[in-house]
Structures are given as structure tokens and as C-alpha cells.
């Protein structure tokens, strides 16, 4: 009789670490090709449109990079939180908190113009951190489940923003439920082309900084230790609660910065549809990157391509744009399933049957 058995690996080979996310994404694309043909489009045409449309002209490249920036922020936010096993599903809400802070500071006329951009960035980080702090405190003080609170906090934040935009914060000029446009001095400088704003390189630098923080500092080490084994970490002298709160603060600040980039560099005002699911996409991106901050960079770029490319694909082939959402979900699942093979190996054994 032939037996299939999962056997724990001693170490994961390096090539597998890199091959896994690529294979996971390929598997997701193959699975989703059924939907493309279901929608009546030739798969190869639709997929080539999905990808090629994102870097055919310098404009496309800019747009892809600008789209990747918030995904980079939320991917980093999730990577830090999940490392500590703080289940922050609330990057979406923390992003909106950051966006509100940036939008509010950006339209203060009494502040000197030159201070606006740095203050918006700081304010957004603080607001995001604060919105993550509450679930973290509820978890460490009252043992309230972090998954549930961060999820519900997304809804609270969204309705809160919508209420403000319908009420006291409504744009007086247009009467639309958007915040007033920020000062010209508050708009992030455009570095290249027409859309590539300051926030894009900052998010890239942040990825390197977070890698350094997680890999080269005591803070990062404590976060990893608590995530890997809280009891052992406590025994080694780390305050588990303090580390969890730190991870939550860093995570929330990173997600908040995504909001600063969207308000300061893209929209110049707060709208309730500011985030097209960036917070949830961050979970997919961080997982594909295996929670490695540097791995978040290619993962964010890939999903920026999918999100932007889906529009072009939809226009040209009629495949609904929501294919991008399905690919995200499937890629997350193929990645977690595929990760099994990094930890286990499949063993085929022959057993002599008795009797």
C-alpha cells in the first residue's frame, strides 16, 4: 500500500521561500482563468491586458507606482502586527484615521505652508497608531479578541468619516460629501511625471526601515519573540503586553501613513471611498511576503498592477473589474496552503500489508 504522509522539514530551502509566492500567484491566476472564460473572454487576451496595460507607457508605470504606495504601507502594517500575532485586520480603518488627520491638518490656513506636509505625515501616523491602540489596549487589559475589535473598528471609522463628511466637514464649495480641498502648500510635491508624489519614495524607504527595525533592533526581536512564543518571551524578560502594544502602534502608524499619501498625494481631500480595500489587500500582500518587509515591495507592486490592470482589462474585454478582488482572495488561500510545503514535505512510503 502506498501512503502519503506529511513530514516536518528541518529547514526550508531558500529557493522554496522565493518560489512559493510566485507559484501561489500562478496557481491563483490559473484558477481565476475559469472565471475569465466564464465571462466570455479569451483568457490570454484578458491576462495580457491585465498586466501589460500597467507598464506600457511612462504614465502607466507612474500610476502603478502610485497605486503600490498605499498597498506597501498597509502590507507593512499587517506584516509587523502579524509578526507579534496581533491580528490587526483593521488597517482599513487606521488608513482612514490617518487620512482624516492629514486632511484636517492640510487645510489649516494658520500653519506656515512649509510645515504642512511634515505635520500631515506625523499627524496621520499618530492618528493611525491611536486607532490601533484602542483594540490593542482592549486586548491586553480586558482580553477582548483583537480580530473582532479591529474588524468592527473599520465599520465604526467608515461610518464616522461618512457622518463627518455629510455633516460638519462637508465641502462648502461643492456641497458634495467630501472634505474641503487641502492647501496648495499641503499637496505632496510631484517628483516625476504628473502623478508620482513624495509619498511613493517615502513608502519605499519605510519598507527598508521596517526591515531594519524588525531584523536589526531589539524592538524587532522582541516583536518576533512574542509572536513566536509569548510564554518563552515572557520568561526571557520581555513584557508581552508592552511588546503587543508597540507592535500595534507601529502597525497602526504605517496604515495611517497610507491615508496621508492618498490625501496629500492623490486626492487632496478626504472622501469616504478613499481606500479601495487597501487595508484588506495589505493582509494578502503581507502573507505573500511571508511577513518579510522587503518581500512586501514586490508583492505590493504585483497587486498594484492587478488593481490598475483590471480597469483596462474590463474596458477592453468586458470581464468584470472585480476579477482583481477574486485574484486577491485566491492568492491569499493558495499562499497559505502552499506554505505548508515550506514547513512539511510530502513523503510517499510503501507499506507491506500484513496478512
Amino acid at each position: 500500500m502506498i501512503h502519503l504522509r506529511l513530514e516536518r522539514r528541518e529547514t526550508t530551502p531558500a529557493w522554496l521561500q522565493i518560489a512559493l509566492p510566485i507559484l501561489a500567484v500562478l496557481a491563483a491566476l490559473i484558477l481565476c482563468s475559469f472565471l475569465v472564460s466564464l465571462a466570455g473572454a479569451p483568457v490570454l487576451d484578458a491576462y495580457s491586458e491585465l498586466f501589460l496595460s500597467t507598464f506600457q507607457t511612462p504614465y502607466d508605470v507612474q500610476d502603478t507606482l502610485v497605486k503600490a504606495s498605499p498597498l506597501l504601507w498597509t502590507g507593512l502594517a499587517v506584516a509587523v502586527a502579524f509578526r507579534a500575532k496581533f491580528w490587526n485586520i483593521g488597517a482599513e480603518g487606521q488608513l482612514m484615521a490617518g487620512a482624516m488627520a492629514a486632511g484636517y491638518i492640510g487645510e489649516r490656513t494658520f500653519l506656515p505652508g512649509i510645515t504642512l506636509v511634515p505635520l500631515m505625515i506625523l499627524g496621520a501616523a499618530a492618528a493611525g497608531a491611536l486607532w490601533a491602540l484602542i483594540p490593542a489596549l482592549l486586548k491586553v487589559k480586558l482580553k477582548v479578541d483583537d480580530v473582532v475589535t479591529t474588524l468592527l473598528f473599520n465599520s465604526i471609522m467608515l461610518y464616522g468619516v461618512m457622518a463627518l463628511l455629510e455633516g460638519p466637514w462637508k465641502d462648502p464649495k461643492t456641497g458634495y460629501p467630501n472634505s474641503p480641498v487641502i492647501e496648495t502648500a499641503a499637496q505632496f510635491p510631484i517628483l516625476a511625471g504628473d502623478t508620482l508624489h513624495l509619498g511613493v519614495p517615502i513608502s519605499l524607504i519605510a519598507a527598508i526601515f521596517i526591515w531594519w527595525l524588525m531584523d536589526r533592533t531589539t524592538t524587532g526581536f522582541s516583536i518576533k519573540a512574542v509572536g513566536a512564543n509569548p510564554r518563552a518571551a515572557a520568561y526571557a524578560g520581555f513584557s508581552v503586553n508592552r511588546v503587543l502594544v508597540t507592535a500595534a502602534l507601529v502597525s497602526g502608524a504605517l496604515a495611517g501613513l497610507a491615508g496621508a499619501g492618498e490625501v496629500g498625494g492623490v486626492r487632496y481631500q478626504v472622501t469616504s471611498d478613499l481606500s479601495s480595500g487597501y487595508g484588506y489587500a495589505g493582509i494578502v500582500i503581507a502573507t505573500l511576503a511571508d511577513l518579510n518587509p522587503l518581500g512586501v515591495i514586490p508583492a505590493a507592486l504585483f497587486f498594484a498592477m492587478i488593481m490598475n490592470g483590471a480597469d483596462a482589462m474590463s474596458r477592453d474585454t468586458g470581464v468584470p473589474v472585480y476579477l482583481a478582488n477574486v485574484i486577491q482572495g485566491v492568492a491569499l488561500l493558495t499562499m497559505v496552503a502552499g506554505r505548508l510545503f515550506a514547513v512539511y514535505r510530502l513523503r510517499i512510503t510503501r507499506q507491506v500489508s500484513h496478512g
Binding site: W87, L138, V147, T149, L152, S155, M162, G167, A324, V330
Partner: protein, 314 residues
Amino acid sequence: MAETIFHLLDIGFFAALLRIATPLLLATMGELIAERSGVLNLGIEGTMLLGAMTGFTAAYFTGNLWLGVVAALATGALIGLLMALLTVVLGVSQHVSGIGTTLLTTGLAFFLYRMIFGQPAVPPNVVAFAPLPLPVLSSIPILGPIVFNQTAITYLALLSVPLTWFILHRTRWGLNLRTVGENPRAADTAGVSVWSMRIQALVISGALMGLGGSYLTIAQFNAFTFGVISGRGWVCIALVVFGQWLPWRCAGGVLLFAMIEALQLRLQANNTLNIPYEVFLMLPFVMTILAMALVSRNAHAPASLLIPFRKEER
């Protein structure tokens, strides 16, 4: 103020409360069954949405609401099977599998709806389930018009609570399920298949969630919209914690939540202060977190929740 609130509490209010509670009761019982077996089903939000979508679509094309119900149940059961493949058979992170399942099914609901119906100016609709007054019972004063003049799915939802309690706490199957959630090693030794129990639990859980979702599109309302679930699934996860993993307490939590929701709808309608209606929408979510903060310290989740079971590993 007290007088206005009292004024709001008429028969219509309590009937609305039960309508709001219906999808939540079904999905909460579903989540409860999954968690009792040791699996956190975070696929709930997407399962409800896809159930709402397929239930509506089946009812729309066949003209038969009950086929809509069947489609929603089947959709939910299939998604439960997917969750089972990931969390039970492969034993990967329940958090990530659940979020992934929700992302996938949400995307799928949007994708399929757009593919089938396009972008019509007026969303297609069905003739929704009509209230089915139960003979004799519906003529009981006060209670009759509130409880016994509802749609068939609401009766199913109300029945799901005692049924869940009975099955979980009064049958051998329920005992096995709870043991699998508390101490899978012991259950395994006693000859109960941990995997089989968990797979069954997830399939039932998904079916109930799908049915709950479809109530919104073929009974309470008559069309599918992208925001039809908007966080209801996440609330159910909180309600299971609030209800301490016990069917009756969970149902109590659902009714409490539904009451706040019904109250905020009434306040919205009688909005004399011109408060943006989103403030009212936010209210139930804030209350849910407050309620969880109150009970969480003493909450005892099933001991093996979130822990995959592999027979060969000790």
C-alpha cells in the same frame, strides 16, 4: 426623552426587531457550531454575501423563492467545505483562511453579479417572501403580530436556536462536537473522528450563513446590493463571544443587537436633531465592542479553538 422612546416601542418596532435579528440568528448559530468544533469561521462575512447573491439570482431566474433558499444553503455549504479543506485537512491558519475566504467570496459575489446582470439603472428585483401568518397563533394579542406574522425564514431562524441548543447539548453528536472543540486528542482516543466532526460543523455553519445572507435579498428586501451585508457577519463573530459560546445567550445577544439596530432606525426616521444618519449606523458597532469589553474577561472559548489537529503529531 423617555416618553419619545416609549412612543417608539410599538408592535411594529418589535416586528422589525425580529426581521433584523433573522439573518443574525442564522449566521450566529452557524458561527457558534463552527467555533464549538474548534474552528473560527472568519469566512462568515463573505459567505453571507455570496449566499445573498446566489439566493437572489436563483430566485430571480426560476421565479421560485424556495429555490433561492436552496441555492443559498448550497453556496454556504460549499464555502464551508472550502474552509474545511483549508483549516481542517491542511490545518493552516484559521485567521488567514477565513479572511482569504471572505475576500474570495466577496470578490466572487461582485464578479458574478456584474457578469450576470451588468450595470442596469434599476437593480433587478424579485417578489420577496410575504409574511406567513400562522393560524391561531397570529391572533394572540401583541405576541401574534410580532412573532407569528413573519416570513418563513424568520420562523426557521427562531427555530434554529432551540434546535442548535438541543443538538449541541442533548445529543451524542453534539457532545462529540463539543469534545472535539475542547479536547480533540480525547475525542480521537474515544474513536470520534476529529476531522469528520469539524468538516460537518463547517458545512452546517456555512449553510446557515448562506441562508442568513439570502434572507436579506429575498425576504427583508427584494434585490441584491454590494453593501447588503456591510459588517453583519463580523458582528455575529462578536455576538458568539458575547454569548459565551452558548446558544441561548448568543440568541439573547442577537436580540439585544437587533433592538439597538431597530432603535437606531426609528431614531433615524424621527431625526429631529439633524444628526447624519451614519452616526446611527455606527451606534450598534460601538455597543457591540462595549458589550464584548464587559464580558470578555470571563469568556471561555472552546479550548482547542484555532488549533489544527494532526493525528500523527503529539
